[in-house]
């Protein structure tokens, strides 16, 4: 296949290898075309170093006006697809203008790179990190190669992590008191809690706990909010009576959650909510939504 494509392809092959590529953790990343590839995982302040090799195809020479590698942190809004906003952009020149006859390898290093935001792929917005290798050519157009990588940042367990406790109700109809053991959960956490029924005058069919993700993009009047239900977890089956207390134990690990992102570069926010939903026999829904903060706990393993 390479031969066919080769006709239209630039006359050289660029590959990026990370210096600790063998040992570094790889995570799956879903590409635009729907394919999932494994890419290395970094966190902020890490050194990103490696080698870039340029190998001209079948002995042809590549003439260029210089070779550079950029580390880009980009935000892409889907309503404005293809238009990337770079919040981070670092450049390393690899080669001065000249010609390459045979495979040539260039080491590169971005040390202690500040990558405050995590890679994210949402409904309306995407945040990605990429290494962009550009071989500038005057006439034939530049040869560009991208290497994605993922950034995840870990937070220490929060100092203050109060439980969420609240009494809600509809007068003379339904009064409940619910409690979630924390307000901040890490991604593999488990939500423990209980719902206590103080007054039940409706015939409840069941009760679910939903995890909802609210992604808001844009700002001001152009704010666009998209809410997804990531988890629907049945807590209770049947109609409780006054005085019942229903336990909650929801493991978060099966769900694809991210940490809470607040106002990422003034472009977007991702927030998480626990939505307690009671459904009565007429399929009316009674619900109460509470925000929880998600964070990524450093892998201790």
């Amino acid at each position: 296949m390479n031969y066919i494509i080769g006709a239209f392809k630039p006359a050289c092959h660029i590959s990026v290898t990370f210096s600790d590529g063998k040992s570094r953790k790889q995570v799956p990343l879903k590409k635009e075309n729907g394919q999932t590839v494994m890419v290395p995982l970094f966190q902020s302040q890490e050194n990103i170093s490696g080698k870039i090799s340029v190998e001209p195809v079948s002995g042809k020479k590549v003439e260029h006006n210089g070779i550079k590698v950029e580390l880009l942190g980009q935000i892409e809004m889907y309503f404005d697809r293809g238009n990337f906003y770079d919040f981070t952009s670092l450049v390393r020149e690899l080669d001065v203008p000249g010609e390459i006859y045979e495979r040539k390898t260039f080491p590169f290093e971005f040390s202690t790179v500040e990558m405050p935001y995590e890679t994210y792929s949402g409904v309306n917005v995407r945040l990605r990190y990429v290494l962009k290798v550009t071989i500038s050519r005057g006439y034939a157009g530049s040869i560009v190669e991208y290497q994605d990588f993922v950034v995840q940042n870990y937070s220490p367990p929060p100092q203050i992590n109060n439980s969420i406790k609240m009494e809600v109700g509809i007068e003379d109809c339904l009064h409940i008191e619910f409690e979630y053991n924390k307000s901040k959960y890490h991604l593999k956490d488990v939500i423990i809690g209980k719902i206590y029924f103080l007054l039940v005058r409706i015939k409840i069919k069941n009760m679910d706990l939903e995890i909802r993700r609210r992604e808001s993009t844009g700002s001001g009047p152009n704010t666009h909010v998209e809410t997804e239900t990531l988890a629907k977890f049945e807590l209770m089956d049947g109609a409780p009576v006054r005085g019942e207390s229903i336990p909650i134990r929801l493991f978060l690990s099966p769900y694809e959650l991210t940490p809470t992102y607040r106002n990422i570069n003034n472009k977007f926010s991702v927030k998480y909510y626990l939505n307690l939903v009671l459904v009565d026999e007429e399929d009316r829904r009674y619900f109460k939504q509470q925000e929880i903060t998600m964070y990524r706990l450093g892998d201790t393993s």
Binding site: E234, D237, S253, P254
Partner: protein, 790 residues
């Protein structure tokens, strides 16, 4: 909820089964290929079939059982997985990822069971978690089955004493705690079932609920099987907790069932030791609960326990079982105002049975129970409720069955008071029971006091009821009853004459109120029993002078006289006459001439004034003659007067043959073998001649009216008498007269118009044979007979 017919339900069930089987198939395939993830997925889907609300408990159970079987395979798989190194903790988490709660919890319980087995965590923690998590199912039916599943899989894994799961951290207490909690929750769900769904289906729902009760009760059974639940723990923890739940659920069905369950599953000695606690719960139950049955069953159990061996009885005494039960019953009755009287009586009846079994010697307890019963019955009037009546009869019969002795019952002061509340029919029935009992056991009632009490009890039989019953009493039944009363009177006996006299007094007092219909039945046995006493007195104490003994035949005769007089109010003169004569004979034996004379006088008066029927007259006159013949105390004058009268009566009978026979019978009055003083051959002959005259007259009358001479039988009979007296040596009876009479008879018999009479012929023939026999025999008598030529 969609309510459809049974058909729909069948459809849903088969759909459910189909879905279940399909997923089970995939699950099994995943199990075979060791694919945990798939196995979990399909098992969850399979279990989702149990989420249905459309099935009745019965059908749901069918579905559940299928799922249950599949889950066993899954459990084995889980065990294998863990033995292959898969972390059980991780597995325990993994199954909790299921989104739907019901499948999740079934899986959790299944893994939990493996978890406990693995001993990687203390059993109590796992159990506690499971029972807690199951709260998520608030739907009664599904919840009940889920918890029942939990109970099932955990049964063999409880940290019981001696179990492999018992350890430092796990004690039997944890096992108990777990079962109790599961029980409590199940009961709550069960009770709640009744409130769900439309009101019109309430009945159906209650029926369905009742089908589910064993799921709940199973927990109590599990509790009772835990080795570590000793008396102490049962008393301190198990029972109070269970009762708390029972009382608090405020549900009739549940309370009744669970109380019964408690009583049935735990050992007797536990009940005995915790009697107070258990009983205290009873008044707190809903008023509609059938507490009486509960208590009755308890008492029944305890009774059986008591009956199991004498060695357990001290336990009963130690805990004062009776007092406690009695108090409890009182309280229950108080608490349940509207308890039907039948219930009250049932309770007391059970208590009574219990008491009889346990405190055989405590009659005061029995009386106490009856007293309480009376107290309850008072103010309610007579009972119409057939059920209550039945129970009272049971209550009253119990003491007899136990003691086989009416004596005991007679000591119970409250016994008759309870009987008061029976309606007349039942009272009578009860009285019959009592009488029958006496007969059967041949109980001898030997004091006047008891007799009094007894008659008080069987009032129904010996007295007309206050309100006149108009229902036609079956004559036969009445006779039967009265006959048994008469028999009863015969059973009253005391060896002490004085006491016996008192008894007679008492009986008399009672029977005299009996009314005309009864007297003919009741008086005779009394008279005879009096006469029996007279004879006894006469037999035993010639030596004891009459002064210091209050019981003298004279006195008795006075009573007897008065008693027979009572009969005069009813026209039963023949009976009275007979009795007078009996008395006269007794007086004769006591050498009380005036008394005997008086009796005769009474008999004669009756004969003259009351007995008008000619047939009756005949019978009576023969009685009189017979009795008079045996009297030997009369002085000449008295005797003359009486015999004279008797002969007079005989001659005045209406029918000639009767006259004839009476008259020749009178001849005996003048010839007593034993008494020299009473041999008057003249008058014997006179009587016989008179008889002959009458016989002649009969013959003439017969030929005059019918053209035929009547039977010669009268002559033959007279001949018989002649022979008798001849044999006795009455000098006035001559051979010639006998010879003449034989001639006469033969002539008569050869007459043309004589109808043949086989009886007469036979009689004569046998008489002639007798003469011949005596002749042949020889001796003094033979010589006499030799003089007669046939």
């Amino acid at each position: 909820m969609i309510t459809g017919g049974v058909e729909d339900e069948e459809k849903w069930l088969s759909a459910g089964i189909a879905g279940l089987q399909q997923n089970a198939f995939y699950m099994n395939r995943a199990l075979d290929s060791n694919n945990l993830k798939e196995a979990l997925k399909y098992s969850a889907q399979m279990l989702s079939e149990l989420r249905t609300s459309r099935l009745s408990p019965h059908k749901y159970y069918e579905l559940y059982m299928r799922a249950f079987d599949e889950l066993r395979k899954l459990e084995i798989f889980f065990k294998l997985e863990t033995s292959r190194g898969f972390s059980i903790v991780e597995l325990y988490e993994l199954v909790q990822h299921a989104g739907n709660i019901l499948p999740r919890l079934y899986l959790l319980c299944t893994v939990g069971s493996v978890y406990i087995k693995s001993k990687e965590a203390p059993a109590k923690d796992v159990l506690k978690d499971l029972v807690e998590m199951c709260r998520g199912i608030q739907h009664p039916l599904r919840g009940l089955f889920l918890r029942s599943y939990l109970s099932q899989v955990s049964r063999d894994k409880l940290p019981d004493i001696g179990s492999e799961y018992e350890g430092d951290a796990d004690t039997v207490m944890d096992a108990v705690e777990f079962v109790l909690q599961n029980f409590t929750e199940m009961n709550k769900l069960w009770v709640r079932m009744q409130h769900q769904g439309p009101t019109r289906e309430k009945e159906k729902r209650e029926k369905e609920r009742s089908e589910l009760r064993d799921l709940v009760g199973k927990n109590l059974h599990v509790l009772s099987q835990i080795e570590g639940v000793d008396l102490e723990m049962y008393k301190e923890i198990v029972l109070p907790r269970v009762l708390e739940q029972v009382v608090n659920c405020k549900d009739e069905l549940a309370q009744f069932y669970l109380m019964d369950c408690i009583i049935q599953v735990f050992p007797d000695e536990y009940h005995l030791q915790t009697l107070e606690t258990l009983l205290n719960a009873c008044p707190q139950l809903q008023s509609s609960v059938d507490v009486k049955t509960v208590l009755a069953r308890l008492m029944e159990r305890l009774s059986n326990y008591a009956a199991s061996g004498a060695e357990v009885l001290p336990e009963f005494f130690q805990v004062e079982a009776f007092t406690k039960l009695n108090n409890a019953i009182g309280k229950v009755i108080e608490a349940q105002d509207n308890m039907p009287i039948a219930g009250v009586v049932t309770l007391y009846a059970s208590l009574l049975k219990f008491t009889l079994q346990v405190h055989t010697d405590r009659l005061d307890y029995v009386d106490q129970i009856l007293g309480a019963c009376v107290h309850k019955l008072s103010g309610k009037g007579k009972l119409d409720d057939s059920k209550a009546t039945k129970q009272i009869v049971a209550l009253l019969s119990a003491p007899f069955e136990k003691y086989k002795d009416i004596d005991t019952a007679l000591k119970l002061s409250n016994y008759p008071r309870v009987m008061e509340y029976l309606n007349d029919g039942t009272k009578k029935e009860m009285a019959n029971v009592i009488v029958q009992n006496i007969m059967k056991n041949k109980t001898c009632i030997s004091t006047a006091e008891k007799v009094d009490a007894l008659f008080e009890l069987i009032k129904g039989l010996i007295r007309d009821s206050d309100e006149d019953l108009h229902d036609e009493l079956d004559e036969e039944d009445f006779q039967e009853e009265q006959n048994s009363v008469s028999r009863l009177i015969q059973m009253l006996h005391s060896d002490d004459p004085e006491e016996m006299l008192k008894i007679i007094h008492t009986v008399r007092k009672h029977i005299l109120n009996g009314g005309q219909k009864r007297l003919p039945y009741t008086v005779p046995p009394l008279i005879f029993s009096s006469l029996k006493l007279v004879r006894r007195l006469q037999g035993q104490d010639e030596s004891v002078s009459g002064e210091d003994v209050s019981t003298t035949p004279k006195k008795i005769f006075q009573i007897v006289t008065q008693t027979i007089e009572a009969l005069s109010s009813i026209p039963v003169p023949e009976l009275a006459l007979g009795l007078y004569l009996q008395c006269a004979e007794a007086a004769n034996d006591c050498d009380l001439e005036p008394v005997a004379y008086e009796f005769f006088t009474q008999a004669y008066i009756l004969y003259e004034e009351e007995i008008t029927d000619s047939k009756a007259q005949v019978t009576s006159i023969h009685l009189i003659i017979g009795t008079l013949q045996r009297m030997h105390i009369f002085g000449v004058e008295n005797r003359d007067a009486l015999t004279h009268k008797a002969t007079g009566y005989s001659a005045k009978l209406l029918k000639k043959p009767d006259q004839c026979r009476a008259v020749y019978a009178c001849s005996h009055l003048f010839w007593l073998d034993e008494h020299e003083s009473m041999r008057d051959g003249e008058r014997v002959l006179l009587c016989l001649k008179r008889a002959l005259r009458i016989a002649n007259a009969v013959q003439q009358m017969a030929s005059a009216t019918r053209g035929s001479s009547g039977s010669v039988v009268l002559f033959i009979e007279i001949l018989n008498k002649y022979l008798y007296f001849y044999e006795k040596g009455v000098s006035q009876i001559t051979v010639e007269s006998i010879q003449g009479l034989i001639e006469l008879i033969r002539n008569e018999m050869q007459g043309d118009n004589v109808p043949s009479d086989a009886a007469a012929d036979g009689f004569l023939a046998s008489m002639l044979r007798y003469i011949q026999f005596q002749k042949d025999k020889g001796g003094a008598l033979g010589e006499k007979y030799e003089l007669i030529t046939i």
